[in-house]
Symmetry: C2
């Protein structure tokens, strides 16, 4: 699998999708022609053209990298997707299932029986089996575990025992170890005897008799140094190491910061237990960024582009429901001032501007806070300073945009008092919004969640309700 | 630089920041004590304690990886940041400038004179000089270019000529080439003679007499195969290659898809011109994700956490201004119905709910579209199907949430007609929102921008204005 990609040019991926779609279209055309002529279905299957199309398609799929087949499956609507999936050689099922998104994986697994699933997973590495296990039916996992030898079963079980966001869940067990007291020549001979190296091997792990990690030997040094030198003299003896319980995000930051390709993972006693590689880290970073993006938009999880309406709606209801509640609350704030609005309907036209500007500037503060927290830049020592800065910006913005809206309001309604109330309300609600954008992610972290989780909903709740309250309250007090 | 990180454990980064902050605090304490005693400033500099603190700090900084110094600089407020920056050994300035964010880089460069800047940049690789050049004063760039030899100058000039988002801007010129007709033994001897390999070298590039790329030789194969074999027999002859003009996002997808560590870059004639490595790709992915996040929140660019209020405000004004315009437009829509609102103030309380739900469900559709477009999953063949699905979900949501809001409205106001108008308006505005969320990113791409660019502003503009128009329009028509 690791070699395959090197013989594949990436320009071809989109072309491949087009070709697959064309073959499918031809296939569907034949089907519909046959259907019109009322040919019985079993005769259709016998049709020469039909067979040709399918074998051309199967051949095309065989040529593609698993990740490219995955891409094609993602881009096809359900019935075409299942047709293509059935044409994929069963020994490739496992690696392709690993490449597709969770939502599409579910739809593919649903078309397979237990025997097929066990066969698909059995060909994978233990860390890959663990990745897949979460989406497999329980009896399939059980059957699969029974088919593994004891060492592998222990590896799968240990992978499954770690938190999904931890280094333990990302590690693999595919690494090459070597002793410190051998020469580089011996090391090279050993590698040649192995006949293959795990993908992303840029260093060997140097361990002692008890499998305790004592250093790493970059392949680079192995290649360049005198072959008579000992590993101990050439190795790096203070490498970046991780523990299985480390948060994945910390490991991702270390990979970015130190430009790592692979790194050893050790247990509390320093014993080597696994390896983390840059490809897995990159997938993790992408998945985390995507999750943040989906959450910010109020989607519970990744959604198959072609999922059914019903399934998609369920994915979206939680946040729409929460949003309805917060909107209802803001609506009741306005409701409390219905008397004022009856007297001066202009208030109804102006109030969304106050709430909207608060929401937008609050979200600017919020985003910088979330970014700063993700990068560990915000500490006890500096957060007060940041709050002062954000409040300062809010004050400046309040004066600038408040004055401007005051002028606009005067221009629209020729009412000086209303214009002054508008200016004041803008100023106050921008300050409240800055405070809310600053405090919301901190509060959410205090509650034990990721700072991005629901922060925007909480912010909008505050800026809407407070924006309406401030504007309508000031108006009622000063104008009526 | 490439070796350094291997001797550094990542757990220490945050501890280092704390230690640095402690030393600075001690230093500031001495300063303030001295200040209170009215000791002249030149005597302070002579103070023993003062000197000790600074030398301890400088020593601490020398020990740290450039990326860790960069992290500390990001986390410190301006005056402390400049103090730390002055203590960094000048030969390390260049690599640290590369690691900090654009905003902080600007603040550091502002404290350096031309001579220091030229010295800092001169020690870097040509691709790194090109990265830095955008932020340097023009005369510094000129002086720098003159100090380079012809080959390097050409490389910098060519790096600068490519679009910032293209593979050309990401490539480096640090790679090892080899001929196909030599044996692996010769190749190994050649590497040993080189004495060092560029970082992230997982393969050698096999070229012919005219520097045309004919294959790649993974180090793995070099290590494992018989030393008497020829490179031609062992190499991979159809590797993934890129062109300097390829979009960076395509290359990033290929790196993720095929789990690459490095890849050759060739010109139109197939001649090897550069190399792309996974660490640069990972930084690119992170930067793109960050840019999307900042844009979604209405921030023009990355902002130094400790920038001045004035500078930060300017970063935020463009989007706040645009938001004010769209909010003003929505406000005029409401303004057109002021007569209706005077008669029935409940309309003012209910209208934000309609607009808010539209905005939220539209943003769900928008986010899935942007994601699908980023992954090239949306094509001429399937976009109609997606539109139908999104409209289907909107219909379902409209019925569900519309009925619910109808009931709530009846409960609040005991007005059946108002409840029916509320239900109908919710249904219609959710459908409009789905359509807007679907069309907005397509329209923005048609205008030549990134789909995420301003899509949310456009969406909110439509959902707010249309939400108000639909609800108040229906109410005016049926109730008054």
């Amino acid at each position: 699998m690791s070699e395959q990609h090197e013989d594949r040019a990436q320009d071809h991926v989109e072309d491949s999708l087009k070709q697959v779609m064309e073959i499918i279209a031809r296939h569907r055309l034949v089907e519909s022609l046959v259907h019109k002529q009322d040919m019985p279905r079993h005769e259709l299957v016998e049709t020469l053209v039909h067979k040709q199309n399918l074998s051309e398609l199967a051949h095309k799929l065989d040529e593609l990298h698993p990740a490219d087949v995955a891409y094609i499956l993602e881009a096809l609507p359900p019935e075409d997707r299942i047709m293509v999936w059935d044409l994929v050689k069963s020994e490739r099922d496992g690696e392709i299932l690993l490449e597709v998104s969770d939502a599409v994986r579910e739809s593919l697994i649903a078309t397979m029986d237990n025997r097929e699933l066990v066969a698909a997973a059995a060909g994978l590495d233990t860390d890959e089996i663990a990745d897949l296990a979460a989406d497999l039916p329980k009896d399939v996992v059980q059957e699969l575990m029974e088919s593994l030898d004891e060492a592998k079963r222990a590896q799968v079980a240990s992978s499954l025992s770690y938190d999904e966001e931890s280094v333990g869940a990302l590690m693999d067990y595919d690494f090459v170890t070597i002793r410190a007291d051998v020469t580089l020549e011996v090391a090279l001979r050993y590698l040649r005897r192995l006949g293959d190296l795990p993908s992303h091997t840029d260093k060997l792990f140097v361990v002692d008799r008890d499998e305790v990690l004592i250093g790493t030997l970059p392949l680079k040094r192995l290649l360049i140094h005198d072959q008579d030198a000992h590993v101990a003299a050439v190795m790096s003896d203070d490498p970046v190491v991780f523990h299985p319980s480390d948060p994945g995000t910390d490991a991702a930051q270390a990979f970015e910061r130190y430009d790592l390709v692979s790194a050893p993972i050790v247990d509390a006693k320093g014993k080597l237990v696994g390896r983390l590689t840059v490809d897995v880290v990159m997938d993790f970073i992408r998945a985390e960024a995507e999750e943040d993006m989906l959450q910010a938009a109020g989607l519970r999880e990744e959604e198959d582009l072609f999922s059914t309406v019903w399934k998609a709606a369920k994915n979206r209801w939680l946040w729409l429901g929460i949003n309805l509640c917060t909107a209802l609350f803001a609506s009741r704030v306005v409701g409390a001032f219905e008397g004022s609005i009856e007297k001066l309907a202009a208030l109804a036209a102006l109030m969304p501007i106050v709430a909207g500007m608060g929401g937008n500037s609050g979200s600017q503060t919020l985003t910088l806070m979330v970014r700063g927290m993700a990068l560990n830049l915000i500490s006890k020592e500096n957060y007060k300073r940041l709050l002062v800065k954000e409040l300062g910006i809010a004050l400046l913005n309040g004066v600038v945009w408040g004055s401007m809206m005051g002028l606009v309001t005067y221009f629209l309604y020729q009412n000086t008092d209303l214009a002054l109330v508008m200016s004041g309300a803008m100023l106050l609600s921008l300050i409240v919004a800055a405070f809310a954008g600053f405090i919301a992610p901190l509060a959410i972290v205090r509650m034990g969640h990721d700072p991005a989780f629901g922060a925007h909903v909480l912010l909008t709740f505050i800026t809407d309700s407070m924006g309406f309250l401030i504007f309508l309250g000031l108006a009622t007090f000063f104008l009526l």
